[in-house]
Amino acid sequence: MSNEDKKSWWAMLKRPSARYSMGTLLVVGIASGIILWGGFNTAMEATNNEQFCISCHEMKENVYMEYQNTIHYNNRTGVRATCPDCHVPMEWTHKIVRKIQASNELLHKALGTIDTPEKFEAKRLELARHVWASMKKTDSRECRNCHDYESMDYTKQGRRGRAQHVEGFDQGKTCIDCHKGIAHSLPAMYEEDPSAALGGPK
C-alpha cells in the first residue's frame, strides 16, 4: 500500500459519508456488529468446552484421565463439572482475561514444555501452585459458582465436614485452602506439607 493510498483511507474514514444515507449506515453497522460480535462469542465458546481442552494430548492423557476418577466426573446425581466450569471464569471480563492468559499455554504447547508424562510430572507442582494461587486470589470463585457456603445445609454434612466448614469459613478460609487435589492427582507434596508425604529433609 503506497503512502498516498494510506492517506486517502484515513481521509475517507474521517470524512462524513456523502454517498450513503444515515439509515443505510446504521443498518449495515448494526448488522455487521451482530455478526462480528456473535462470531467472536461463538468462537470463544467453541474454545470453552471439554472437547477443545482435551484436543491437546497433554490435557487428555494426564489431567483428564485423573479427573475421570473423581466425584466431579462421576457421581450419584449425574451433575458433572467439566474443565471450563472450574478453570474458566463465567463472568465476561474475567473470562476474557483468562482467555488471553491462555495464549501462554499455546506457546508452551508449541515448545512442548509438558509433552511427555515425565515432563508433566516434573512440572506438576509448579502448575498446581499456579492454580492454587489464582483460586486463592479469587476466593475460589469458580467453586462457588456451584458450591456456595450460604446454600450449604451443614446438618446434611458429616461430622468432620460440618465442624471444619464452620470453623474454616469463620477464619475466612476459601475452598482451595483445604480442597486441593480433588479433581486431579496431587503433585509430590513434600514441599507443601512434609508431614503428609514420604521422605525426610535433604
Partner: protein
C-alpha cells in the same frame, strides 16, 4: 335404620369422650416435658460414617478408622490421612495423631518422618461398615483392653 343411628350416636359420644379425656392429660411436646421458654438440648446428629474413636478389642490392634476414607489417596507423593493425623496437623484438625512407633524402622532406629513401612495406613487401619458377619463366630473383646 334406627339401630344404625343409635350406633352412630354411641360412636360419636365415644370419640368426644376420649378427646376430652386426652385434653385432661398434660400435653407433652416432642421436645419433652419442657417449658416453652427453656432452650432444649438438641440431640447429636447421627452419622454412621463419622463416629468417635472405636475402642480396641485386643492388644496391639491397629485402631479402626471411625469415618469414611473413600477417595483418600495414599501414594509415594502424598498421604491424605496424614494431612489430619500427622504430628504437624492433628491439633488443627482435632484428629488422633499417629503413634510414635510409626517413626522407627524395623531395626528400631528413630527416623525424621514416618517410616516407609508404616506409611501406607490402610494396610493395617480399616474403616467399618454396618455389615452382618458372614460367618458366625464367638469372638469376645478382651475386657482389659476394650472395657466391655
Amino acid at each position: 335404620m334406627k339401630r344404625s343411628m343409635v350406633l352412630g350416636g354411641v360412636l360419636l359420644l365415644g370419640v368426644f369422650g376420649s378427646t376430652s379425656l386426652m385434653a385432661a392429660d398434660k400435653v407433652v411436646s416432642l421436645r419433652g416435658d419442657q417449658d416453652i421458654s427453656e432452650a432444649s438440648q438438641s440431640a447429636e446428629l447421627k452419622h454412621w460414617q463419622d463416629r468417635d474413636p472405636i475402642p480396641r478389642d485386643y492388644v496391639q490392634q491397629p485402631p479402626l478408622i471411625p469415618h469414611t476414607n473413600e477417595g483418600y489417596v495414599i501414594n509415594l507423593k502424598f498421604n491424605k490421612c496424614l494431612t489430619c493425623h500427622s504430628w504437624a496437623n492433628y491439633k488443627q484438625a482435632k484428629a488422633t495423631k499417629i503413634s510414635q512407633t510409626h517413626f522407627s524402622d524395623r531395626e528400631g532406629n528413630d527416623l525424621a518422618n514416618v517410616s516407609a513401612r508404616r506409611y501406607f495406613c490402610t494396610q493395617c487401619h480399616v474403616p467399618q461398615a454396618e455389615a452382618k458377619p458372614l460367618v458366625e463366630n464367638t469372638f469376645a473383646p478382651l475386657p482389659a483392653v476394650s472395657g466391655r
